[in-house]
Symmetry: C2
């Protein structure tokens, strides 16, 4: 097998034994990486096809890897897997200024693609914290979300065309560049969000947007989740499509930041309630800030918020975002902890926040539970430190969190995917009929079960 | 078979013989409707499931029908088919003002749903000419487009959740209400745009948007397609997400309207070039018109347009739209004619417009060829009257139009779908590997080939 692969990608394209560095063995949450047979790094989509055909001929399992920033172990190898890394598929093929599209290979790093588009005065619609290492193929395979979903949608909504290599090496090229194409089934959907279990994404056409003329960022505080929800509706009504982000933080998160993250400077005094970072991507520059000010003024007058501040410059804007995204250092003081990524109807969020804290505290009285997330998308993240990282406690907390989600008709995965981490809970959000159809698709497209086996299903 | 179905839906739910009115036998383009076995009209999604199970047990083919406004014969019955009409599935189940979602059954008429949402101060993102009879199930099954795609995307982009009944009667309920849900494969994508060949859509959750504060509608004229494309880019840069429609009409269309549609009043003098109807959905009311005016002023100064007028009131706005959408009466004077719905990269549109007129004229010197469409979506419509409606001429003109599309890397169907009408041309836009995977999906989900057989594939 190894010799077959080396013949395709050349000596530099193949790693074995001690040359397989930690980047390829990265795993998150429960479980550890197995010992892969080798790492194969094709230099072209055609080589990906030949690699897959060779593996198919020998019934060899394959796990595709992008930037390895996933949080559910979707890219972690099992014993004996071939790792197919897209790290050498880094060609940016074309940018169409009229059609507003970017065509690129799967291994291009998200931030590289973002900057390439920005240089042309355009915006790549997806943004998330891991932008510096996540790849286009990875964010497509996992249908990544991030901090612009309320404005631009998930990655799925921004992929116009896609090329994937099937389990048997067939190149399925659907590199559509138009917003509208109803010529038969939309096959690219199969490979978006299926975490490399149905095919290996090799190239894509991504929809671009004009860059906003002005970005206005606000930090506000409200007394209750209900007020935050009303504030969100107010912003959606008054600012329409210009609302680009709406990040809510439960009070415990604010207290945690003050206690554990000395570098972060929340703009309000302690005990200010539920804080929200909202950002507006404005079509016109001159009146952007006055319009946001007037909209926030209306919310103050209606009592939806108690306090509001607008970032006066890029430095303040960055400081606001650091409160939301930069708590990693402080988080480490909580280790071990478990992380959750769930979604639910906005109307259920107050109940979720209350129950998740109360129910975990019942079992683990000295736990720390932080709730925050992208309210406009129905997506909350939970960090739960219960004083133990043991598998049994992980399972117990999972049962609590996902049990509430099941009650509230939510999803056990909003944007992180299923991977290995949430596989046992897939049935808590999807019906037996749905899971059966997933197996039908998997069997139809990968009858030998060679592509990322043991993930998702 | 008929008795089985009558037992499920009751006598009022079943039509046979002369009671099967023309609504069920409607067909467009080439081909005629066959003689269906019966029409079954379930009153609930559960009845749809029982109907499908009964048909599955007897290997009975089924064609699902919505409002029968499709243009490619996707809903036309073949001899012996059971017609499953969703016309009695008309329940609007819930509107969530926080979550911005509408939950409804498949038979709800688009306009009914639009008005229900408007009453709540919200907007259903899809709009198209057939709004008065098209159903939600129909616009989902065909992934309808329309005049707001540049702003809100296709129907696919606005379906959050969906319930479909499979060929064997299995109810596949994926009624997700969140923007983010990455718990396993996104099964609903299978049923969006597959024209009833993989399942029957029974219910859906549709994403809503806040209503715009102001709508500004402009009519402009440019000298060339290149200028129109530059004008589009100018609007996208200056107005961003507020650009809601961008409808371009080739010069022959303007001449046709003046000659054959006395009720339509184009705002400019004859021979004004390429005309564009653009519409802006503005987040703020007060400054909307001045901003559009300034943006159009910039385009005039740069020479991208020669002439511009903004609708002063709703009556003028309606008059502008009538020029674009209301030519049906005049079209009838061209009968027989063939209609095309194709997409291509915007950069290819000038070439397409030139070639389609020249190539048809070479074979049919006295033909009338009108080109118009949604430039921002890459979508053009062509009306070709060549003095014959004969099948051989239809085929010859198809070959010309789709041949150009194949050369330009476009799609033989932008928004109308494939149905029967374009089935022979699917391979002109999709690769053999793509068509093979479509057959794989069809065989996996409908192994007996009972669902709308002979359509799409």
């Amino acid at each position: 097998m190894i010799e077959d692969l080396r013949a395709i990608v050349g000596p530099a394209g193949l790693l074995i034994g001690a040359d397989i560095g930690p980047r390829y063995l990265n795993t998150r949450g429960r479980g550890t990486a197995g010992r892969p047979l080798c790492v194969v790094r094709p230099g072209t989509p055609a080589e990906v096809s030949r690699v897959m055909a060779a593996c198919h001929a020998r019934n060899q399992t394959v796990v595709a890897q992008g930037g390895m920033t996933g949080l559910v172990g979707g890219g972690a190898p099992r014993d004996g897997d071939v790792i197919l890394s897209t790290e050498r598929l880094t060609k940016i093929e074309a940018l169409d200024r009229d059609g507003l599209t970017l065509m690129a290979e799967a291994g291009v790093v998200l931030q590289t693609a973002q900057e390439f588009c920005a240089d042309a005065g355009l915006e790549l619609p997806l943004d998330l914290g891991a932008r510096g290492s996540a790849t286009l193929g990875g964010v497509i395979s996992t249908n990544a979300g991030g901090v612009r979903v309320i404005r631009h949608g998930m990655m799925r909504d921004n992929v116009l065309g896609l090329e994937a290599v099937l389990a048997d090496g067939t190149v399925l090229s659907s590199m559509n560049r138009m917003l509208k194409n109803n010529a038969g089934y939309d096959l690219k959907q199969l490979f978006i969000g299926s975490e490399g279990t149905l095919g290996v994404v090799t190239r894509a056409v991504i929809r671009l947007k004009p860059r906003p003329k002005a970005i206005v960022t606000a930090f506000t505080a409200s007394r209750s989740v209900a007020d935050v929800a009303s504030f969100l509706r107010h912003l959606q009504t008054e600012m329409g499509a210009e609302l680009g982000s709406f990040e809510v933080m439960w009070p415990e998160y604010d207290a945690f930041v003050r206690a554990r993250c000395p570098a972060l400077k929340p703009p309000f005094a302690p005990n200010c309630g539920f804080t929200v970072l909202s950002e507006f991507l404005c079509g016109s520059a001159g009146d952007a800030e006055p319009r946001v000010e007037a909209t926030l003024g209306g919310a103050l007058k209606q009592g939806l918020i108690d306090n509001a501040v607008i970032a006066k410059n890029e430095r303040e804007r960055a400081a606001f975002w650091t409160v939301r995204e930069g708590a990693g250092e402080g988080m480490r003081t909580l280790l071990p902890y478990f992380v959750y990524d769930v979604s639910m109807p906005i109307a259920a969020m107050e109940s979720f926040g209350d129950r998740v804290r109360a129910d975990i505290a019942t079992t683990y009285p000295n736990s720390t539970v932080l709730v925050l997330g992208h309210m406009g998308d129905g997506n909350l993240h939970v960090v739960a430190a219960v004083g133990s990282g043991a598998a049994a406690d992980h399972r117990a907390v999972d049962d609590i969190v996902y049990g509430i989600i099941r009650d509230l008709d939510g999803s056990v995965s909003a944007e992180h995917g299923i991977g290995v981490e949430k596989r046992d809970y897939l049935g808590w959000s999807r019906t037996p009929a749905e899971v059966a159809v997933m197996h039908t698709l998997k069997a139809a497209l990968d009858p030998k079960n060679l592509l990322n086996p043991g993930k998702v299903l």
